[in-house]
Symmetry: D2
């Protein structure tokens, strides 16, 4: 396969470069850009010296059509809305890591994203790329909308309980914590090292763009689920997300029942690992890998279940999951190029 | 005043050294130890070179009685249970930063702390040192039980809503995050730098010792409050606690009503700062100071209030609050020696 | 005293706010700005809420003259060159934390700073504010040029050996490491958290602006000293500088002789602490304080002396030293407002 | 190939697990231990759940002989001295990541390591595994002594200049900085998170065990080289080493000559990358990879060359280099299993 990346100078792009280098079915990687035409990728990323030597090319549909079989978009808002449809029509598969195609209802999109939605016709064609719960659709998709990082950790953590209807639907609270790489590569006051180190921040209270994405999927799974509470925080680290999820159980559950439910539902999932009783994952235990690790607890004192779901936001929360989707779309083993042991310490 | 510190080689002790150096009414500091007799404090803490030159003395009641007016205990479990009663009887005031005297019910203590409770007679004499809500009792106390770090952030964050009975008592969830200094100075696998940096951890799920302390005070404030959910996390930073607290409002509140409630209740409190609408504190905004900063939000979509309460765990969560109590007990201005601008960045 | 700060929204300014709040002779602080007129300081720095409530005023010489007795400039390049002369002429003392007035030779300034030098007449009036070695001049100064952070650590570390002419003047190498706060508050790619955490960088190789400042003073002390090698590095931390300095001893020295030399020369200096044999300071041992801690070693195998000099770059390397100069200029005890125990941990 | 690891619960062991998982010629990994017999590797390292499921076995020569073809020792001092000889005699190749076999002169070993040297007969058989400069010997070795992390960065940085005899041999100074993982997995005061974060430390001044290793190899390359100055520092990060190396050039060199020398000497080396003029590597640019990146500068003002050499201490400084040696010994492509793009950010 020959693949193209639009937006290689961002962090999602850098991670695609890292992961695709290990993919046995990827022969060629072409880099496109909307703004840095002619720049060599090493100017932006010295760490790929000696591995990637390409210059960035401008986005040209005629070239793209002939040069690559799949295009990954790791782009700022608006780029995918503009190009994805045309690329897919021209031939190549499209895997969009941006948020442009995730929200089905344009009104909801516009309310949360404060910008115009992509055309409805384009959104209709985009398949939500959460393989563990949407694999069949992904197999036949031409355009993938890759999930957000917080939704990935949250939805994988909640799915078994929601789908089993074992919880009070009104009770869902997600307290999420992320490393700074999720905020992207553009310097900003909030992610300035002197302001972020030795600091812990809450941000976008009640306003994060991933809220409607989480709600959209939860409601697809159980239409009774109302709006949820989701608050994101910034941790002074680069990679990693932990979603600590609180729900009220409808009835008393033993720790074993809880664990068996998750182990059963994820029995065939190579990238989801359920911790044993009393064990909870730390973010570093999935560092650099495509795993989602989940710990579970039922508190008899309160009747509440706490779900601890961790991912590497740049891998399972972005580029790794994109390649997982790429594998499914193309009939490869799902873990091709993704058999990475987390880097520890 | 002449003050003594038992446990000066721990972090609570080090912070007492820092803060007491600026206290205009403290003329002398004597250091006691149960295990490191004869060691010079600079061997343990080179950063106090040229400021504190004392050797550590053994704990001897006869000496303590004549040498100091107040004793701070920043000690491991059990030390205060053993010595606090006798010290207070001998004359000096006692301010205990350990958890030994916090839990009134010995059964509850033994269940959560997995060790024997201090004598009931001693616990009865100990006054819970949360000045903002217990000032009158502190004025007349001989023995102070200084609150835990998590309870300080949590209780100051919850008090106005609990005392106004504006929330569904069943709904309280506290998701707490702390720097590593709260875990103390003894090296351990969990706080080994290579295991903790670039990592975010949850720990002691449903089992943290501060849970019964929080519940005890909440139930004093409103006996209808049931057990609460509290989950602590470790952030790769040294100082700072954020408690993100989720509660269901009984009725719709405007952001202004919410803020006015807090501003009113804390109007005369010099160490509690309420952020304006849309503003939320980060832990660094109280770094090195005795402040508790609080941000508030009411989410119309879910009817939930999110309270964000931050402190420096070593100051307002330990040694600073201890000195605040010391000031109250001795009739000094409450902020004496504590007028510290947070260190930023 | 009434003091003014120009540039309060930068890190040097924030630290002045912290330190001046504890200064017993400072009654009033007025904030001036060249670009943010009318902004309240809390908008920029929520951590000073409830302590400083001022708005930023524009720089107006007539007001400055009547409003304040001393002006601290913690400003970007060029501001001090423009205003310092006029302020001093109008009456107030000037303490300049920027680099504008440090280099006596305009050609040298222009070569290293790549901009026009301040007027020679202004530079002539400016006294280099390194109190340990320039106290008498500072006493009578109207304009202080506060030393750079690296020069402070380096010069205090080198002075005793240079002044005793015990080293091979050709042999001086300074390998310096700094936290990121020295790079200021403006977000940039180099100090973006995701690029700086879990990373260690060298920068401005052979080109740092502090090189000519170090050389200028060294040559004043011993005209035989040639150009030196100085390489700065960025550490993933916010505060702290360590200068590891390598020199060749002219003759064999015992560890005791070396230490006695330093202890003798700094015997009356309250802010310089010499470590005992085999002890070396870490940057955290001076965190938040005005100390410069120095460790020393003579290696018999190589005949080289290694000097380890640490400061908090924001305090002794900037605002703390500025206040030390302020105290000297005004006849206050030199440590007034600066008796800070380092914050540890 | 079937490989064994002794010491899998340390960081060198963990990294071998990560890297060997990607090695196409490694079919089986057996874990041996001297102290944790029967423990499952997941108890020590939850991050390998679902990938490695083995229990640790005791070290038994008879089993080792039949079970594996190569044994990696990532062990504390003394283990390799005890077992390496016997293992190699029994058949399997030995690659020793510990320091036991690095120093050829027992007296030197005992002086620096403060313990008894391994038998001379064993040391004689051990080949120093720095492939870029010792490849031929490695090809025919049965026992490899894998270089230390600091020596790897230092020697690769110095080799071209030393071998070309372009520098004053008396002038070599190495100022080295390392992440904490080099200190191993055992908790200690020095690497306790609260003591290490926001801190920068120098340690083992003039006493680091890697000094005689560096000197031994330099003297092999040029017998005129005397003792060198080497000072190591600890950076508040987990992975990465930067060696900043200072040498005096015998004669003036252009930047181009300097660069051409290095590019020439390393032209066929896949794991050494030379930066272009004015470019210097940061440690993160090799994070998780087997690269050694080198930046170079000649300062006309001082006649000194500064060499900046960075590696990931756990990869090129330990386990990656061990696998590189493994590949050479077994006739595989040298980069087999090591074609890793650095993880960024």
């Amino acid at each position: 396969m020959r693949v193209g990346i639009i937006g290689a100078t961002g962090y999602g792009g850098a991670e695609l470069l890292r992961l695709l280098h290990q993919h046995p079915h990827v022969q060629e990687v072409v880099l496109y850009t909307s703004s840095k035409e002619g720049m060599n990728i090493q100017e932006s990323y010295p760490h790929v010296s000696g591995i990637y030597e390409q210059n960035l090319q401008s986005i040209d549909l005629t070239s793209i059509k002939t040069e690559v079989d799949t295009v990954f978009l790791a782009t700022p808002p608006g780029v995918s809305a503009e190009f994805s449809g045309a690329i897919a029509e021209a031939g190549p598969q499209v895997i969009d890591l941006s948020g442009d195609l995730r929200i089905r209802d344009p009104k909801v999109y516009e309310e949360w994203y404060k910008r115009q939605s992509a055309p409805a016709s384009l959104i209709d064609k985009a398949v939500y790329g959460l393989p563990e719960w949407n694999r069949e659709e992904i197999k036949h998709a031409r355009i993938i909308s890759n999930p957000g990082c917080y939704p990935t950790a949250t939805l994988l953590g909640l799915a078994p309980l929601v789908k089993s209807q074992l919880i009070d639907v009104e009770s869902i609270i997600i307290d999420a914590k992320s490393g700074t790489s999720g905020a992207g590569r553009s310097p900003s006051a909030i992610t300035h090292f002197s302001e972020m180190n030795e600091n812990f921040k809450i941000y976008q209270i009640n306003q994060h763009k991933h809220i409607p994405e989480i709600e959209q999927i939860l409601k697809e799974w159980d239409e009774l689920i109302p709006n949820v509470t989701f608050q994101p925080h910034l941790v002074p680290m680069v990679r990693g997300i932990m979603a600590t999820i609180y729900v009220k159980a409808k009835k008393k559950l033993s720790e074993k029942e809880l664990r068996d439910l998750y182990k059963g539902m994820y029995a065939n999932e190579g990238f989801v690992r359920i911790r044993e009783e009393g064990q909870y994952p730390a973010t570093k235990e999935v560092y650099g890998s495509n795993y989602c690790d989940i710990g579970l607890s039922y508190d008899v004192r309160t009747g509440r279940i706490t779900i601890v779901s961790v991912i590497d936001n740049v891998v399972k929360g972005a580029s790794g999951q994109a390649i997982q989707n790429f594998n499914i779309m193309n009939g490869f083993e799902e873990n091709t190029g993704l058999q990475l042991v987390p880097m520890y310490p």
